[in-house]
Amino acid sequence: MIQVIINGLLIGAVYSLIAVGLTMIHGVMKIVNFAQGELLMVGMYVTYVLYGAFVAEGSAPYFLIVPVCIIMFLFGALVFKVSVSHVVGKSETSYIILTIGMSYLLRYGFQMIFGSNYQSIPVSESLKFGSITIGGIVFTTTRLIAFFAALIFTIFVNYLLSSTDIGRAMRATSENKTVATSLGVNAKIVYIVAFGLGTVFAGVSGLLVTPLYMIYPSVGAVFSTIAMSAMVLGGLGNIKGAMIGGMIIGVVEALSSTYLTTNVSQIFINLVLILILIFKPYGLFGKGVRIA
């Protein structure tokens, strides 16, 4: 039982990381990115290509984190500049549809390049199946690394938002764009950075899960739903909430797929989301919007 919960928490951290990226984008520009899972897929393929080109077969992919971050940031900035920037501040429908369109474009564009076959990176057996046992509980190495990397990145976001200039500018913009702009914040740059960072988080999550999951073009669909559920669970625009939301989903998934079947676990994740929304329509940590 504890073992299952631990497994859930470990993978939940990765879900959290994707959800944190989503939350950051939403917090700053009030856009929910329905293509976040596809950005993760892009991250997986970037890892796959870099690994094939520069890394000796069998070694761990983790030190690719720096190039992956850089590539994903640039990719995110490009995507933002070309498409998303045009719907910031427009109606909800526009960004929902735009990002859904983008998810199809990315998913099937990558399928055209890489084919629809399942790929994986040839990491060593010892990494793939390695584990540490503490007090009778088995910690799988890959999951443990993913967990700590996700944690470090989330702490990094918190630091960024609270203690750097760009972070403060982002928070100011999310509170009130007009006021922030009039005080000299360059909203355009803030938006690009926020979307770029959101993409980086998705990309890093992609890197972290490559030893765990197969790589294929539609892998993002699974993560998209999970990340959105995690974000909504926590309450939109709340980093801490997204973090906890991701963990909850990880645990629910682990419990229900261990004791029941994988098919049932999908039902449970979604039921938990709907149930929480019934009792807390703005998520666990969300604030209600004041009307009138």
Binding site: V32, E92, T93, I97, G101, L106, Q111, S229, V232, I267
Partner: protein
Amino acid sequence: MSRTDRKNSLHIKSVFHVLRQNPIAVIIVLVFALFPAVCGNIYFINVVIEVFFFAALGIAWNVLGGLAKQISWSSACFFTIGAYAGIMMYLSAGVSPWISMFIGIAAACLFALVIGAPCFRLRGVFFSIATISCTTILRQCLIVFKNITGGSVGLNFGIRKNYSLWMLTFRSKTDFYYLSLIWMLACVAIFVAVKHARLGYYLRAVREDEDAAASLGIIPSKLKTKAFLISAAMMSVTGTLYVFRLGYVDPNALCAHDISVKIGLIAILGGMGTTWGPVLGAFIIIPLLELCNYYLQDFAGGGAGYALYGLLIVLIVLLRPSGLITLADVIREKMAKRKAAGSAKGV
């Protein structure tokens, strides 16, 4: 006042009004009525049948999505419920689709009530995300309860021999062509009737400003639920008809997020809240996907159709966010201007 006696005229007048207002639409409908007579290619006819069904679904989506701007991604649920109702009742007792259709409507409405209650407490994108969950729950339930639903394999009609309209088993493909065309037009009529009824007025008020509408006595959740029920019933009927053409159900293909998205996009890209928008949307999106899958199947790594579909969506949102049907207004305006300029010159 042409509107004063609308209540008594049972909205038939407004249907005629729409026909008179859209001579081009009438011509197009006539063209499609004659299409199978001139087109011998059974593949194209099949594509157009698919278009009609998805246009009907898009129109159904538009009742809630267009009039009340509730972007729902749960359409596939109702479509699936209709389909399963049709096939399950046929397989277990040989029930005609014209009867199981109503069972489907009842089931779809029940499901809509159950998911509507929590979802309509949510606003905007929260609502959208919650509806995505509903599709997943229903699909996984269909897979888990395999004793009655056939699990992930789905169900199959097998061979049907007794050809009849009553059992929707036809010898020729064109019969289904006309059936789907008629059903699509019926959906158009239902949409027009709802739009011009009290419900349509209230829904548009809710769409424009929910708080103001509430302060004036409109109960948004009640009206949205009503629209949701109408929309669900229309989708369920479409599902029942559709499955009798398809011959089988596959939960992963039918109750999929992709289907929900396709239905919504057909309406949104065509023109949200407009009567003919979804029809136009279906005529662009369905053939694009079908033809690409047919001709470009082996192009590069495959998936070219869906990649183009994604690109098209992005482009339309960026260039024509109000929907393609509004291009017709632009053309009409330009022509009127040219006409005016021409007559001014003549004088």
